[in-house]
């Protein structure tokens, strides 16, 4: 399983004004948040918020859907930016997936019950 977009990431590339883009420094905006929400019945929904700009959310979503065998969408939120939304509780899988792709575990915050 390979995500092309993740491999071509150049760590030395200019990523713009890091602090300028996030309004408050040191807040939880720097984290990648993985949350869970209950839907009706025993159905749940997982959201991934705060994905760094250098990742292509669209491609990531495609990879998630294939890897976890679930459906999902990309939601554009005015405040939170792009949010990946997946059906079911995929929190652990997402977290593992992202860490395997080299995202430090400390920047990933898994919420929920």
């Amino acid at each position: 399983m390979s995500v092309q977009n993740l491999q071509t990431f150049d760590p030395f590339a200019d990523e713009g004004d890091v602090l300028g883009s996030t309004k408050d420094v040191g807040s939880q905006q720097n984290y990648i948040h993985i949350r869970i929400q209950q839907r009706n019945g025993r159905k749940t929904l997982t959201t991934l918020q705060g994905l760094p700009k250098e990742y292509d959310a669209k491609k990531l979503l495609k990879a998630f859907k294939k890897e976890f065998a679930c459906n999902g969408t990309l939601v554009e939120d005015e405040e939170m930016g792009q949010v990946i939304q997946l059906q079911g509780d995929q929190r652990l899988k997402i977290s593992n997936f992202l860490t395997e792709e080299g995202i430090p575990k400390t920047t990933i915050k898994v919420h929920g019950f």
């Binding site: 929400q37 939170m80 919420h111 929920g112 019950f113």
Partner: protein
């Protein structure tokens, strides 16, 4: 120091009396029950000499099972201990599975315990009831062992100085959240005010955190109970609360729970009452909330 002594005491206990006491307690107890008619004077002394609370609890749990076991085993003519033990183990495994099924919800995340900090919901160990004149060695010919004496020492020490128990050891125990179901879609957190009081936190702050973490909403009813939208299990809420405690209650420096949360210039600061350290804590920020339920409902608001 105090704690260490006690721990080593426990370890010594196990080492001396029963090498696999940690997990064998249950088995041993059951075995003993059946062994009694066989040899009355056997190692009965060692069995009763350690009235720890843990085996009592487990025994309680599957008491009916034990009875059943006894009945079924009576049918067997031969005392085939090996087979019996095997059976017991299998049964134990079964029980474990059952427990997991009952306790672990379908959404329960396999959180690593380290993230949650100390389990504050653990029931405080009841002071082991070692009354003077009730010691095990008094009933038998043998001498007392060192761990037994040590246990006796602590029992009498704590009996005469209850303050020691509260100032050290498991002093901060929060009652587990108690939940009730309202209808099919709501959960009522009945003792939230009590828990907040024990944590010295405003219920509003706790509720804000709960809702943000659990991705839901709710309201406080007339009796101060929290009505949460969605179905939640006690264990789930417990995990969220433990995360709250790690983040907003425990002092990072001395691990004390005796802290105060104050708001200055829109920033929350936590001051430790025990060691005086102060740190700022993250503001609770509700993250992205996906729209669930009817779309038309959210559109109009």
């Amino acid at each position: 120091m105090h704690e260490q002594l006690k721990q080593s005491d426990g370890a010594g206990d196990e080492g001396e009396e029963d090498p696999n006491a940690m997990f064998g307690d249950l088995k041993k107890k059951k075995k003993k029950k059946r062994e009694i008619p066989l040899d009355l004077d056997g190692e009965e002394g060692s069995g009763t000499s350690t009235p720890t609370t843990a085996p009592a609890a487990t025994e309680d749990l599957d008491f009916s099972d034990l009875k059943k076991k006894k009945k079924s085993s009576k049918k067997k003519a031969a005392f085939d201990l090996d087979a019996f033990e095997k059976e017991l183990q299998a049964e134990n495994r079964n029980e474990d599975g059952d427990e997991e099924e009952a306790g672990g919800g379908q959404f329960l995340l396999n959180v690593d315990e380290s993230e949650l900090g100390e389990n504050v919901f653990a029931h405080s160990e009841a002071p082991s009831g070692l009354d003077a004149g009730n010691e095990a060695w008094l009933k038998s010919d043998r001498d007392y062992t060192y761990p037994e004496l040590l246990q006796r020492f602590y029992a009498s020490l704590h009996a005469s100085n209850p303050a020691l128990l509260t100032s050290t050891g498991k002093r901060y125990v929060i009652v587990p959240p108690s939940l009730a179901r309202e209808g099919n879609k709501k959960t009522i957190f009945t003792n939230i005010t009590d828990i907040c009081r024990r944590m010295h936190r405003q219920p509003e702050h706790v509720i804000q955190f709960l809702f943000s973490e659990m991705g839901t909403t709710g309201s406080v009813d007339g009796q101060g109970r929290l009505v949460i939208k969605g179905r939640f299990q006690q264990k789930q809420l417990e995990n969220v609360l433990r995360r709250y405690i790690v983040e907003y209650v425990t002092c990072k420096t001395c691990k004390s729970f005796d802290t105060l949360l104050t708001k200055e210039n829109r920033i929350f600061f936590m001051t430790c009452e025990s060691c005086g350290s102060r740190r700022s804590v993250n503001a609770i920020k509700t993250g992205f909330q996906a729209q669930v339920g009817k779309r038309s409902k959210t559109k109009t608001t």
